[in-house]
Assembly symmetry: C2
Homo-oligomer: 451 residues x 2
């Protein structure tokens, strides 16, 4: 275990993960549209030797634009701009398998991998919500199970596209007038339930072979999908016990499908609110809670539960008879997490909203840099995490405090790199470059073991 290394990902919610962060005096309320803001955040994370930065996404105007900055530039565009302004840090972007075509998306990630010299990662999501569906010709969101089935086929087709050029296909022989060996460029004519795609891709195999495959849904379907395809997993785990149980469950599933559990990294989220003293941290936390608009937050909560806002009186606990996870076709695992959190801690709707306003169900932690480092070390050493998804409540200040305060402590304790030793995102995470299925005659390990 001594050479086991901690991994850190910076989850860049533009103005911070706390929904009221934009209202602080220090915040630029339009930073979400400012590419220099993202570049500067990524440079801070790179200074802290983070493995990667990460952008969430969905193809819909989430939330009420009245309530918080809701405009989102498209992640592969932001990450390309970051790529040109950084050297080493990995670049993970979210894209939906429900509302994209494999040819276009696989190509975009291969392009980003070229532009960044092997630093691209794809957070594979299935996109909950009827509103997104209505931007793509549908009346409502397809069933959860069907979304995950499409996601599986989407990844399978994508790996065929990324492998469609073998690594040594390009010969570039000017004399012989041969640019590529066309026997090593494969038309594969995939025909499946959701897609028929002939190939080859119009981009040769990229530096990493595939972008790093990341997954972030924690329902049963989500965990099964992750066991087969994911190389890194983002997850919301509000307590150590839940985090440990999730970790063991997923590693077990990974082993059961015949993959090496060490090659699937589990990164729970943490929302650190850092102060020079614990008191200072708690004050910032309280200030943020005060800035939440409970009416807006309640409306969003009600939507998640399929209720009207009036059905959730602010100073009462959640109603008794909420639907079970089975009845939810949106984001299943987050729904359950929220209901359990409220029940366990006996929270009123108002208190629940304050808890969610910070981390939306992720572990929030107000304290000193030392205390944050202790929590991280505890989870890491007790087998509840391979690393963390750092979700600063306020940006850029929260990330700066983490990089200047927490990272040096983790480095001193020998838990975290002091310099980059690798050039690619897969390299940072200690993951191999995938073999080419057309060269070796068998598919990506996740696909090869698909039941």
């Amino acid at each position: 275990m001594t050479d086991r290394r901690l991994h850190l990902n910076a989850f860049l919610m533009p103005i911070g993960h706390h929904e009221a962060a934009w209202r602080l005096p220090e915040s630029d309320p339009n930073a979400n549209l400012d590419i220099q803001h993202y570049i500067s955040l990524a440079r801070t994370a790179e200074r802290g030797r983070f493995d990667s930065v990460f952008l969430a996404d969905s193809p819909v105007l989430f939330a009420n634009p009245e309530r918080r900055p809701s405009g989102k530039l498209e992640p592969t565009i932001i990450l390309t701009a970051i790529a040109t302004a950084t050297e080493r840090i990995g670049l993970i972007g979210t894209a939906s398998t429900t509302y994209n075509e494999p040819y276009n998306l696989a190509r975009r990630f291969a392009s980003l991998d070229f532009v960044s010299g092997g630093r691209a990662g794809w957070n594979i999501v299935t996109t909950a919500g009827d509103d997104a569906a209505r931007n793509f010709g549908l009346d409502g969101v397809p069933a959860h199970k069907s979304r995950y089935a499409r996601a599986a086929e989407f990844v399978e087709v994508s790996t065929k596209l990324w492998d469609s050029w073998e690594d040594d296909a390009i010969v570039a022989d000017k004399e012989a007038a041969i640019h590529a060996d066309s026997a090593k460029v494969h038309t594969f004519e995939h025909e499946g339930e959701f897609f028929s795609v002939a190939g080859p891709l119009n981009v040769p195999r990229s530096p990493q072979g595939y972008p790093l495959l990341v997954q972030a849904g924690s329902s049963e379907n989500g965990k099964d999908f992750a066991a087969l395809y994911a190389e890194a997993i983002f997850t919301a785990q509000p307590t150590f016990e839940e985090g440990k149980a999730f970790y063991d469950d997923v590693k077990d599933r990974v082993g059961k499908v015949g993959r090496d559990p060490r090659q699937v990294l589990i990164l729970p989220g943490i929302v650190p609110v850092i102060g020079d003293t614990e008191k200072e941290a708690r004050e910032l936390d309280a200030e943020l809670a005060r800035l939440i608009s409970p009416e807006y937050a309640r409306r969003q909560l009600a939507e998640r539960f399929g209720l009207r806002p009036e059905q959730l009186p602010l100073d009462e606990p959640l109603p008794e008879n909420l639907p079970s996870e089975d009845e939810i076709e949106g984001a299943k695992s987050r729904y359950t997490l929220i209901v359990q959190l409220a029940r366990r801690e006996n929270l009123t709707v108002r208190q629940l909203i304050e808890r969610l306003g910070g981390g939306r169900g992720h572990r929030t932690f107000a304290g000193t840099a030392e205390q944050v480092a202790d929590t991280i070390e505890h989870w890491f050493h007790s087998g509840a995490a391979d690393g963390f998804n750092i979700m600063p409540a306020v940006l850029p200040s929260g990330l700066e405090k983490f990089v200047d305060g927490v990272v040096p402590i983790l480095q001193e304790r020998g838990l975290f790199r002091t310099e980059y030793t690798e050039a690619t995102l897969r390299g940072h995470y200690g993951l191999p470059r995938p073999e080419n299925q057309f060269t070796v005659g068998r598919a990506f390990v996740g696909l090869a073991t698909q039941p």
Copy 2:
């Protein structure tokens, strides 16, 4: 006419427009995958005060990868990287209306417009060819007319998405906890033949309102589409007479639908092969012709005609009984141009291949910088062009020769800017920022006049 200004766009075919350019000793045969190569080309064009750079595209591996570098990074990714490394030059990328969804594409161009500070342009194409269709679940390419009908609805939906946030929707009032005025953020619920899209876009209105709308198909359907929607038109015109006729025809169509013909700029392509002397230029041209592989080129030509390669003997003229344009469902206008060129000049297949190898039907011109400037001035002053699409046969050298040789002559003659005077792509082309249809209560002029 004195303040009429010439416009220049640099069409960046990675290693040059001549299909054998990669075989020259000076060429890097893998520059098509090297983002620094594109950045350096764009900086050269910016040094020459070009209005814009342009990238062609289609979502398929075109041509035989054996024959020439055929890998293509995705244009909005390349243009984003260029945006971060340049200040003023416009960035025009091609994207297909047949193989994209409006929500995703409109968002990507809006994002590029933000990242570049108002320099994005979209070359709207319908994508010919069965091979592309087979990457998107279809057996063959949809009919030409139907592709253009989808393109029209695609643009209409896109303008609704780009307008879905009014320009003053964002108030960012921290005190009142109001980020945007939600009465100015519009759900529009478009329901049409091809798309149903609810909106709003998840990106506020971008610096230019819309990206510059560019079009590049010259069939009857293509010209009608351009008259309604295009603000700039790329076109292949091999002779002055054809160029003049096209120019008059399109401006006439623009006027007929009630738009101002001065606000639709026509940019024919020119492939300049520039030498210090005419002799040197002709020698480079001949060297390039010698490097073409006629077998590969013939295969591609045969495909365009729906024939087998053996049906096109290299040293005979084209067969008599070729299909008419009506029977072609692919790229109609380019097909007709090629057949007419061969017939008019009585070319054998081998000679035709040499002619097309350079410019694929665009006007090629081997000569001195002075001679190139003369041609440009002639077309511009005789009302056959509002500017030119500069398509260097070899890159980067061909663009450098143009910028260092031709541009100063055009500037001396008072035809071309010596400094940028505007910050946006629309500004460079002298085109207005479109009004917002939800603010003014009527659609984009092209859409408003749709029959």
